[in-house]
Symmetry: C2
Subunit: 542 residues, 2 copies
Amino acid sequence: MVTFEEISPADFFYRNRDIAGFTNPVRAIFSALRELVENALDATDLSGVPSEVYIRLSHDNDTELGDDVYRLRIGDNGCGIPARHIPSAFGQVLFGSKYKLKQARGTFGLGGTMAILYGQITTHKPVNIVSSTGTSRIYKYALMIDIQRNRPLILDRTIQINKEQWHGTFIEFSLEGDYSRAMPKILEYLKQTALVTPYANITFVDPKGRLYKFTRVTTKTPPPPKETLPHPYGVDVETMQRLQRITDCQTMPDFMQKHFHRVGETISLSFLDFAGFIRTSDPKNLKGEDISRLVKAIKKNKKKGKNGFSHNLSVKEMQHFIRNTQSGNLVDFMKTHFKGVEKSVILRLLHAAGFIRTKAPRKLRSDEIVKLVRMMKKFDGFLPPDASCLSPLGEDLLKVGILKELKPEYIVVSQRKPSTYSGHPFIVETAIAYGGDIPAKDDILIYRFANRIPLLYDEASDICVKVIRSMNWRRYKVSPSMPIVILVHICSTKVPYKTVGKEFIADRPEVKKEVLNGLREVARQLQHFLTKKEYVARERRR
Amino acid sequence: MVTFEEISPADFFYRNRDIAGFTNPVRAIFSALRELVENALDATDLSGVPSEVYIRLSHDNDTELGDDVYRLRIGDNGCGIPARHIPSAFGQVLFGSKYKLKQARGTFGLGGTMAILYGQITTHKPVNIVSSTGTSRIYKYALMIDIQRNRPLILDRTIQINKEQWHGTFIEFSLEGDYSRAMPKILEYLKQTALVTPYANITFVDPKGRLYKFTRVTTKTPPPPKETLPHPYGVDVETMQRLQRITDCQTMPDFMQKHFHRVGETISLSFLDFAGFIRTSDPKNLKGEDISRLVKAIKKNKKKGKNGFSHNLSVKEMQHFIRNTQSGNLVDFMKTHFKGVEKSVILRLLHAAGFIRTKAPRKLRSDEIVKLVRMMKKFDGFLPPDASCLSPLGEDLLKVGILKELKPEYIVVSQRKPSTYSGHPFIVETAIAYGGDIPAKDDILIYRFANRIPLLYDEASDICVKVIRSMNWRRYKVSPSMPIVILVHICSTKVPYKTVGKEFIADRPEVKKEVLNGLREVARQLQHFLTKKEYVARERRR
Ligand SMILES: Nc1ncnc2c1ncn2[C@@H]1O[C@H](COP(=O)(O)OP(=O)(O)OP(=O)(O)O)[C@@H](O)[C@H]1O
Ligand SMILES: Nc1ncnc2c1ncn2[C@@H]1O[C@H](COP(=O)(O)OP(=O)(O)OP(=O)(O)O)[C@@H](O)[C@H]1O
Ligand SMILES: [Mg+2]
Ligand SMILES: [Mg+2]
């Protein structure tokens, strides 16, 4: 007797919470903390003021529950959450503000909710949330999650006056955990977070009351990323259909320019022509007024520069061309009779003069949409993505952070140019820190970051570590027993995480290539330094 | 301007399809095939007749689409799908029949739907499904998926008479792929599937028209797994609350016995007593008829065996004990006055005689539920899970399959006793095949299986491979250049997959221990064989 059921996304991640990083009490207390810290830092990055993040982990005083239950409280001075969205932000999985083409730590819309869900299933206590976006009100909620329905349950809500125009968010809840065994990972996470966020003040009070303070060493924050449009190379039929449903564009060139990244008029017309979506009249069907309009447009274009038309044309001459032409459409006609003129110029001229006809985007049939998408992948005239949607750390900030946390003798950093994988832009930054306070261990230390999040698990599966292990470090004069930290930071609108728990990065050839080249750059510079150092040491010995 | 949105689970897995194993056209064509083959084999296992699975991958003749588009057709003689569920089974993510505590290849409720979703976003064509559960009708559907709403779109539905009482399912759809690069993995997958499913006929026709036939070598199928109840050690507050909502049990002992695995009357009473949920009257408050009932129950128990009460008791004697007792409740009273009698016997007696009172399960407050769950984790009197919900291959079937596919000179297999992790039962089976047709490569070949699914990706991250690499094989006389295949099969009600794409198994200490011990058993036997072989070879040379 086979019975069928559907489950909610909260139920799915409840049953498979190890897939989201909540495997056992040691791992869960780490995951809960990191998810909330990442939310706090995303929010403070948006607020434009230097980040303040406060974390308090204490034993839950409720002795009924046993001594492996903690109270986690985290607060930030970030942008806050609008009152009407607070319950869903924390009480619903697959709800959030980061489903955009813009770099952020958060991406799945479930991290914060999973932390609270884990707390709820181990202690059955509600979460308390206080938030304000800087308006005249501060909102306080007590929530639980209805896991089977993936909905928040609001137990209490109070409003108070926001006298100081405060903006930020405080979250407090109980959860089962094992801090003593999670502690090394938690402290390492905070230390590495402080390294890549040197403009943030991070304060952590642990269950024994010990205070860890990571103080900012700069108030300079990296320029914030801007939301971007999808890149043509990353589009599939589903994305295209969704755009078709919501667009108010009446023509295909408008549609291409309005909805895709770095598509201007010229590129949109060249592409649509390549893809076969441009229609123009048969020249022989042009009326008198059309022909004069065409001649006028050509005259106007002649003034515009050397790619334009090379001689003056009269209406009579044009009529003569038209009577004798073999071309069946205007684009072909213009290309044949003005051989020196580039096709893109012809298209732009015809478009400006109103001779280009395309189907209305909303009227495209589904086979036409499929053809459009396939052609978008084939057309090589699209510009590569610019990186305005990304916000790399930058060499200064990276150096400042490394200096503060590691105090090395020597630092070298490198930032690669933007690249893409599957239409998603990304930038790789690499750094090597040597000597100073860095301890010499029996293997080089590797720090991995993605969108400014430290990755601390599953090192062996991560593409950056695989690249590092595949390099021959001895040719750069590096031996594994040297006091060295290698750092890799990948930022992207879509970090190719292999897992929902954001543990490690998948093996994407484009990403692998950039990581390898970035590491070679800093390795070469380290080699210079080590060679010089060795030389100076030899000179001294004589 | 921060804007919030919610997305459907289909939208989530569409945006993050690499997390579900649909990374690129090479990987996607593999994943689509494997998801559908696993569905077919789950269905044929349920039908009770030896499995027939037919797979046809051909170039889609629709030349508009280009030559990297395929048509995938797969059919089975399995249990079929009831008509009303066909649309949701394939058009909705997080819908299925395998959300039970019973071993199956499927577990997430999204694999088949993801394959069809991938086909749809790359070709925009509908999927055709034909299915019958052996009733008088066969149902045909043409479907597409509304990804944003996670709902099927039924384009067409026809019904025909099922003259031959056929049961099974046929699925056909188009998808972009790269068969030439996916072929090695696809063929390896089918070969390894045939190895662990030696009772199945699997036929595969590839785009070049080549026929691959994996013919069954036995009609003996392993005994099917039975659905089981949750084990007390795996329970949290959420599970407890869901049981509380649906139960019709009026007492706690009934509740414990009805809803939990291997909890009988004695264990339920001992546990509830340990947890503090048993209430009995103060002996001094017992009325005359209660005392006689108690004495009668004790007399009855005396006959039952040596753990019973050792002497005959009269009502007068009982009244005398009661008048002089210090005990405030009956359990304590009985324990004090009948020192030789085990507490579990006392509890059972009092329960049978109606002296045990518990709260009605539906009336438990949430703090009581929390306490109950914590106590369940602490109580050490629960029986370990039995393995009726599991269906390991068994040594015979494993040998038959290995012989058929690998044709080795020597096989050794081992099946470990059932074990658990986090309340989920699992069994590890290991095998080593040596020599014969096995090619000698520069490293031992490792075949990994979970619930009879071959795992072919991310070997380095898998716990079984980590265990194999950590063992010192030379002490078993094994060198890496020998012609050896090591096989590990883990079956469980919940395989600890690290990823939604079921690529590799997470590092769970209980599982790691079982895999290590299972491998040591077969390694030792291989060592005997190799030693004897070496001895015989030496003898021959004299
Ligand atoms: N401290 C905070 N300040 C402001 N907004 C927050 C804060 N924490 C959560 N949010 C809001 O709640 C939403 C949901 O958070 P959640 O962590 O569940 O998902 P996410 O951060 O979007 O993605 P991910 O699952 O990758 O973390 C966020 O998108 C954000 O809008
Ligand atoms: N060939 C088939 N025969 C019978 N039932 C099927 C078949 N294919 C799919 N189903 C039904 O459709 C449901 C959904 O299948 P789907 O592959 O999406 O999820 P699943 O198999 O339950 O889990 P998983 O995501 O782990 O594969 C199954 O649970 C099963 O009931
Ligand atoms: Mg988050
Ligand atoms: Mg499936």
